[in-house]
Amino acid sequence: MNEWVFFINNVMVAGSVSGSIYAIGAVGVTLIFSIMRFAHFAHADMMTFGAFMVLLLTTTFPAAGASIGIPTALIMLPLAMVLTAALAVGIDKVFYKPLRAHGVKPIVMVIGSLGVTLILQGLIRLFAGTSGQSLYVDDRKEIFRLALPFDGVRVPVVITEPQIYLFVITLVAVVALHLFLNRSRLGKAMRAMSDNPELAQASGINTNVIVAVTWVIAGGLAAIAGTLLSLDVTFKPDLSFFLLLPIFAAAIVGGVGHPYGAIAGGFVVGFAESLAVFNWNILLRPFRDSFPAWLDLPTNLAFVSTEYKIVVPFFILVAILIWRPTGLFKGKVI
């Protein structure tokens, strides 16, 4: 039984944590693609920017959360979402809009977004420094150890406070996005524009407004993903940047342009990573006595070691591109 608790902790919990973060990040990437038809590489740094805003606000008002009983960083999250959304709209106005107005090819937009990545990374390093900083400034990070009510189970299931917030907020964000896209006229107008921009214009849909709304949603979601990631680990200026590959893998696995696909893709990549680095020898341990004597299993039976975790999304990406290039869900249109 203890072995299975290890499995829950290292695969189920860890997979859900990274899956949630990839999912929220990938939804933003996929929405931007479906409306503007380019891969937005600066997305990870918009995540970092959101977390940085939370860090700034939290260090300015460290005691704000204590009175309500939730971490200050979470109280500051809505404000950081607004600031990141404003940044996203601003970046679009300054960098991407002039390119669109010239009718450039998507690859030019992609390279433009690489430039934005460099700018954002430089600026964040300039103001935040390069070291890791905890978003728990004045609060204590609670760690819950849930003992399972079975005989002989000594190992508890471990979940931290930010992980619980992560699951709850991911669920809320996904439901809110679903309602927005399917119930509100603005959401439907977004779907219409991703389907046929020319007809959307001729139907009186203001495509400039839709583009701005897309950036607001993508920026808000990026702030959520970046902040929850930094709460779980620590704030570092390059933390989110290293998630760029898994996030793009998640978006492509799900079918680019398809928000539900991006969510599914996020969890596929997250669980694949945690399954790949899990030491399967642990699960075999109870049966060791019944193994034949000549069978000498190595102590580490993981598919890849933790340092090479990044190859997992890469392999998934290659596999999907070979066998199902449109993604799990057929992509392109919201």
Binding site: L186, N196, L199, Q201, S203, G204
Partner: protein
């Protein structure tokens, strides 16, 4: 009387190719004006200039006396200038009914504030739009396929859906770009009937690009002939069909 559409000395070039050359046309309010011309005469470009999908290099476009040259396509839509596309456009991932429901102007849900804070207002409006969409889809004879994804409709049905879109809101002028192409004869009769009804009962003005001379003859007066980017002549269908210059432009003189 001011013409409802007044295109004044418009020029448009793509690279070195001058597609519209000092083009000037007027469309009288309440008319069904036809526009014909050989391939490459600039009909569709002129349409795109009027609808706002393209901006002219020089010249002006007036709607009911108001200069709309600088307005975007969606702003022109809200002024009552609607269009259909030569190759039928549809929101392929929405049902036929939803396609129509995307259209109406001045929707309260278009605004972030009302979306989140006045859901009742949005719901009431949605119900109204839905009723209108059901009427329209019945009118254009697509009621039986209303819940099918628009991408799965036949070419002719998509054309009807294009016409349906223009009926969802109070239009002043509707630009029809080869609405009859690919539509079978029976449907075509319905289509012509519908256009005449909209013209007479709702007061729509139509500007029609068409290759089908039958349809032009039944529907349009006056007819504008475009050739090589400028207006060659304008008159009723008999004048146009008997004009040697027009025959020359269409058949290279061999049919004269």
């Amino acid at each position: 009387m001011t013409p409802i559409i007044d295109v004044q000395q418009v020029n448009k070039a793509f690279g070195g190719l001058r597609v519209i050359n000092d083009g000037s046309i007027q469309v009288t309010k309440g008319s069904i004006t036809g526009m014909i011309g050989p391939n490459g005469a600039g009909k569709s470009t002129l349409f795109n200039l009027i609808a706002g999908a393209l901006t002219p290099d020089s010249g002006r476009v007036l709607l009911d006396g108001e200069d709309i040259t600088a307005l975007s396509a969606n702003a022109r839509f809200h002024k009552g200038l609607l269009r259909t596309f030569q190759i039928a456009h549809e929101f392929s991932h929405m049902s036929a009914l939803e396609n129509l429901m995307m259209v109406p102007s001045h929707q309260p849900g278009e605004n972030l504030f009302t979306t989140w804070f006045k859901p009742r207002l949005v719901r009431e409006h949605d119900a109204k739009v839905r009723r209108r969409a059901l009427e329209v889809i019945d009118f254009i004879g697509l009621y039986h396929v209303r819940n099918e994804l628009a991408g799965n409709l036949s070419g002719g049905q998509k054309k009807l859906l294009e016409l349906g879109r223009t009926m969802m809101t109070d239009a002043k002028v509707v630009l029809l770009d080869e609405i009859a192409a690919g539509v079978n004869r029976t449907l075509l009769g319905d289509l012509i009937g519908n256009i005449e009804r909209l013209n007479q009962e709702m007061g729509y003005t139509f500007l029609v690009i068409e290759h089908d001379m039958d349809m032009i003859a039944r529907l349009c007066d006056p007819v504008i002939v475009l050739a090589q980017g400028s207006v060659m002549m304008e008159g009723n269908i008999d004048d146009v069909q008997n004009n040697p210059e027009v025959i020359e432009a269409y058949f290279g003189g061999s049919a004269a």
